[in-house]
C-alpha cells in the first residue's frame, strides 16, 4: 500500500508535472474563453494593434527558434558535417514541434481558424506575403513530419516504411531548406507593406534578409541550448555517440554562430547606412536599437567567438541562451516595440495576462510532447537495429 503510494509519487507528482498541469488547466480555461467570448475577451488587441504577442512571439519567434531543423540538416547532409549527426534528430524534432505549435497558436489568433486552408482551397491571394508564409509553413510542417518519421517508425518497428522514409532524406532536406529560406525571410517581409508604421531603424527593404540570417543564428543557438537542456534532463537517454559528440557540436555550432552574428551585425549597419539613419541612433529608439544590436547580438557574438577559440563549452552553452534571447528581442522589437511607434502611448499595445497565459500554455504543451517523444523514441540515441545505417 505504502509502496504503491511512493511509486505514484515518483511517476506523477514531480515538480514538472505539477507546474505543467496547472499551466495546462489555465490554458484550457483560456481556450474556452477565447472561443466563446472572442479575441476581445482574452486579448488587449485593438483596431490600431491588430497583431499582438500571438504573432510577435508564437509565430515570429516560434518559427525562428524552430530553425534548428533546417540549419542542422543543412550542416549534416549538404555541407557533409557528419560528426554532428547525433544533433540532427533532436533538432528536427524541436523544429517539428515548434512548427506544429505555431500552427496551433494561429488557431487562437485568427478570427475563423477553420478557414485557415481557405487561401489554398477556396481563393488564393498570391499578392500577399502572408500567402507565401502560409504556403511555406504548411509545406514545411509536412517536410518536418516526414523528416521526423523514421524515428517514429523505428519506435513502432515498421522497418520497411522506415527504410522507405530514409530514402527521401536528401530531397526532403533540400526542399526544407528552400521552404525555410522563403518563409523565414517572408516573416520579415510581412512588415514591408507598412513603412509608415514601423520605426525606420527596424524598417528596411532588407528586412527579409535580416529575418533569414537571424533565423540561422536562432537555429544554431537553439540546437546548442536544447542539447544543454536535454543533457540536463535526459542524459540517461543519450547513447555514447551523442554524449561524445555533443561538446564537439557545441563548439562547432558556436563557432559558426559567431561568424553568422558578425555578418548579421554588419548587414544591419549596412542597412542603417543605406537608408542614412545614423542620426536616429541618438534618440530613445536608437538607444534601444543599439542595445538590441550590440547588447544582445554583439555580446552573443563575442561569447561564441571566445568560447570557440578557448574551447570553453560552458561559455558557449550560456551564450546560446543569450543569442536565443537576442532573436526573441528582435522579433518583439519589429512586431511590437517599433510597430506603431508613431501612436501616442495610450494607443499602444501591451499583452494581457491571458495572452501571455495562452503562449505559456502552448510552450508547455510543446515541452510535454517533447518529453513524451524523447522518453520513447530513438531521438537521443540510435535504435540498435539501425545503427550505422545512414
Amino acid at each position: 500500500m505504502s509502496q504503491e503510494a511512493t511509486t505514484t509519487e515518483k511517476t506523477l507528482i514531480s515538480p514538472f508535472n505539477i507546474i505543467a498541469g496547472i499551466i495546462v488547466l489555465i490554458g484550457l480555461y483560456l481556450t474556452v474563453r477565447r472561443f466563446t467570448g472572442g479575441l476581445g475577451a482574452v486579448t488587449n488587441l485593438s483596431d490600431n494593434n491588430a497583431w499582438g504577442i500571438w504573432i510577435g512571439f508564437d509565430l515570429l519567434t516560434g518559427v525562428a527558434l524552430a530553425a534548428g531543423g533546417y540549419v542542422t540538416a543543412a550542416a549534416v547532409y549538404i555541407f557533409g558535417m557528419k560528426k554532428y549527426h547525433s544533433a540532427l534528430r533532436p533538432a528536427v524534432l524541436t523544429g517539428f514541434l515548434g512548427y506544429a505549435l505555431v500552427v496551433l497558436a494561429l488557431h487562437y489568433d485568427v478570427g475563423r481558424p477553420w478557414r485557415l486552408p481557405y487561401p489554398f482551397v477556396v481563393q488564393a491571394g498570391t499578392s500577399s506575403v502572408l500567402f507565401e508564409v502560409g504556403a511555406c509553413v504548411a509545406l514545411y510542417l509536412t517536410v518536418l513530419f516526414l523528416e521526423f518519421s523514421p524515428a517514429a517508425l523505428e519506435w513502432l518497428g515498421l522497418k520497411k516504411a522506415r527504410n522507405l522514409a530514409v530514402k527521401f532524406t536528401l530531397v526532403l532536406v533540400v526542399f526544407g531548406i528552400i521552404l525555410s529560406t522563403l518563409h523565414q525571410s517572408s516573416l520579415g517581409a510581412l512588415f514591408l507593406i507598412a513603412p509608415s508604421k514601423v520605426h525606420p531603424l527596424w524598417y528596411s527593404s532588407f528586412i527579409p534578409v535580416y529575418f533569414f540570417v537571424s533565423s540561422i543564428i536562432a537555429g544554431l543557438s537553439m540546437v546548442i541550448f536544447e542539447s544543454t537542456l536535454s543533457y540536463r534532463f535526459f542524459a540517461d537517454k543519450m547513447d555514447e555517440a551523442h554524449l561524445r559528440e555533443k561538446d564537439d557540436m557545441a563548439l562547432g555550432f558556436g563557432k559558426a554562430a559567431a561568424f553568422v552574428i558578425a555578418g548579421y551585425i554588419a548587414i544591419q549597419l549596412l542597412g542603417i547606412g543605406a537608408d542614412d539613419e545614423w542620426r536616429l541612433l541618438g534618440t530613445g529608439y536608437g538607444l534601444w536599437y543599439l542595445v538590441e544590436l550590440f547588447g544582445f547580438f554583439g555580446v552573443a557574438c563575442l561569447g561564441f567567438a571566445i568560447g570557440a577559440r578557448e574551447k570553453k563549452v560552458q561559455l558557449i552553452r550560456w551564450t546560446s541562451a543569450w543569442a536565443v534571447l537576442a532573436v526573441i528581442v528582435n522579433r518583439f522589437n519589429v512586431s511590437l516595440v517599433a510597430f506603431n511607434y508613431h501612436l501616442p502611448a495610450s494607443d499602444r499595445y501591451f499583452p494581457s495576462w491571458m495572452e501571455i497565459g495562452i503562449s505559456v500554455f502552448l510552450v508547455t504543451l510543446g515541452l510535454i510532447t517533447f518529453r513524451f517523444i524523447v522518453s520513447r523514441m530513438p531521438i537521443l540515441y540510435e535504435h540498435p537495429e539501425y545503427e550505422d545505417v545512414h
Binding site: 488587441l45 485593438s46 483596431d47 497583431w51 485568427v110 475563423r112 491571394g125 507593406i193 508604421k197
Partner: protein, 353 residues
C-alpha cells in the same frame, strides 16, 4: 455640387458598374504604374465646408445597418474626443483646433480612402478585398479568415475587426456604399446626407478638376495640396483643407508609393530562390561529397603505398633470409663433402700403408 440622376447613371455605365466585370485584383509584382480604373468614381471632401454636425455619421450608420451608437448622433460633445473607425462606425468626423482660434474649430473625416492600389487588397491572402472598377474597395466576409493583416497593412488605419464576436468575426470598413446604394444608382449615404455639401461625388478625374477650380476661385482658402491625389499612389477619396493636413490628423509622411510595391520585390524573389537554391545546395552537396570521395581515395592510395612498401621490405627480408639459408646450406654441403673426401682420403692412406 448639383448632380442629375441621368449624369450619375452615365458615370456608372462608364465605370462599368452595369456590367458584371467586377473583381479586378491589385497585383503586387509589377512595375506598371496604375492610375486607377478609367472613369472610376470617388468623393471629394472639403474640410472648409464641414461644420461637424455628424449628419453623415448618422446616415452612414443607417444605410449600412450598423449597430446603434453609444451616444446619439446629435450629441456633439462626442467630438471632444478623437475617435477612429470601429465595427460600429465606418467613418467619423473629428474636431481639431482652428488655425485662428478655438472658437472656430476644424473638422476632418476619417474613413476608408479607397486607394487606387489598396494595401488591404494586396495584403489579403484570400482576396477578400476587391478594388471594383467603380473605385470602391469592397470586402467579402464569406472568405475572410480573420488574420487582420489588412489592418496592419492599411496606412490609414481604417479596417476594424469585430473582436467581441467569438466565431464569426468580420472586418468592417466603408465600402463607399457599393452594394447597398452605388449599384442602384444612389449616392453614398454620407454624401447624400451632408447639409453643407462638404462631400462631392463624381468621377475622380472630374473631382481633381473641381478641387483645382476651387483653389483658383478662392485664393488663400485652400492649401495647394489635394490629399489623396498622390498619397500611397492615389486614393479615390480626395481632401481639400485650409490648414496642413497633419493638423487635422492626417499623415503627410506616407509617400506616393502604392502599397503593393513595397512587397513586390520580396515576392519576386520567391521563384528565384526556388529556382537557384536547388542548384546551390546540390552544388555544395556535390562538392562536399567529392571532397569526401577524394579524401577516401587519398587514404586508400596512401594505405596501398604503405602496404606495398612494407611488402617490398618484407619480400627483401625473406629473400635475403632465403639466400642466407641457401648459402649456409651450400656451405654445409661443401663442408660435408669436404669431410667425406677427407675421410675417404684417410681410409685410402690407411689402406696404402
Amino acid at each position: 455640387m448639383s448632380l442629375s440622376r441621368r449624369k450619375f447613371l452615365g458615370w456608372l455605365t462608364a465605370a462599368g458598374l452595369s456590367g458584371s466585370a467586377f473583381g479586378k485584383v491589385a497585383h503586387a509584382a509589377t512595375t506598371k504604374h496604375f492610375e486607377g480604373h478609367p472613369d472610376s468614381l470617388g468623393v471629394l471632401y472639403d474640410n472648409t465646408k464641414c461644420i461637424g454636425c455628424r449628419t453623415c455619421e448618422a446616415a452612414c450608420n443607417k444605410v449600412n445597418d450598423l449597430p446603434p451608437p453609444d451616444r446619439p448622433f446629435d450629441d456633439l460633445a462626442v467630438l471632444d474626443n478623437k475617435r477612429r473607425t470601429d465595427p460600429k462606425k465606418y467613418m467619423v468626423i473629428n474636431k481639431y483646433d482652428g488655425s485662428v482660434n478655438v472658437e472656430t474649430p476644424l473638422f476632418a473625416r476619417t474613413g476608408c480612402n479607397h486607394c487606387l492600389e489598396p494595401a488591404c487588397a494586396s495584403s489579403c491572402f484570400v482576396r477578400a478585398y476587391t478594388k471594383t472598377e467603380s473605385g470602391a474597395v469592397t470586402y467579402d466576409s464569406s472568405v475572410c479568415v480573420g488574420c487582420r493583416y489588412c489592418m496592419l497593412a492599411c496606412p490609414f488605419n481604417i479596417p476594424t475587426f469585430e473582436y467581441d464576436i467569438a466565431l464569426t468575426p468580420r472586418i468592417r470598413k466603408c465600402t463607399m456604399c457599393y452594394d447597398t446604394r452605388l449599384v442602384k444608382g444612389e449616392l453614398p449615404g454620407c454624401v447624400e446626407a451632408c447639409p453643407t455639401e462638404s462631400f462631392t461625388f463624381g468621377k475622380r478625374t472630374d473631382l481633381l478638376n473641381i478641387a483645382r477650380e476651387r483653389m483658383r476661385r478662392f485664393p488663400g482658402r485652400y492649401l495647394d495640396h489635394i490629399y489623396g491625389e498622390n498619397e500611397m499612389g492615389g486614393t479615390s477619396w480626395l481632401y481639400l483643407s485650409g490648414v496642413p493636413f497633419k493638423k487635422i490628423g492626417m499623415r503627410e509622411d506616407l509617400g506616393i508609393t502604392p502599397a503593393p510595391q513595397f512587397t513586390s520585390s520580396a515576392l519576386a524573389a520567391v521563384p528565384m530562390v526556388v529556382g537557384t537554391w536547388p542548384l546551390l545546395l546540390m552544388g555544395i552537396y556535390a562538392v562536399s561529397k567529392r571532397k569526401d570521395k577524394i579524401a577516401k581515395e587519398e587514404k586508400e592510395q596512401a594505405l596501398a603505398e604503405v602496404t606495398a612498401q612494407v611488402k617490398a621490405e618484407a619480400d627483401q627480408k625473406v629473400s635475403e633470409a632465403w639466400e642466407k639459408a641457401a648459402q649456409e646450406k651450400e656451405k654445409a654441403i661443401e663442408a660435408a663433402v669436404k669431410q667425406a673426401l677427407e675421410a675417404a682420403a684417410d681410409v685410402e692412406t690407411e689402406e696404402n700403408s
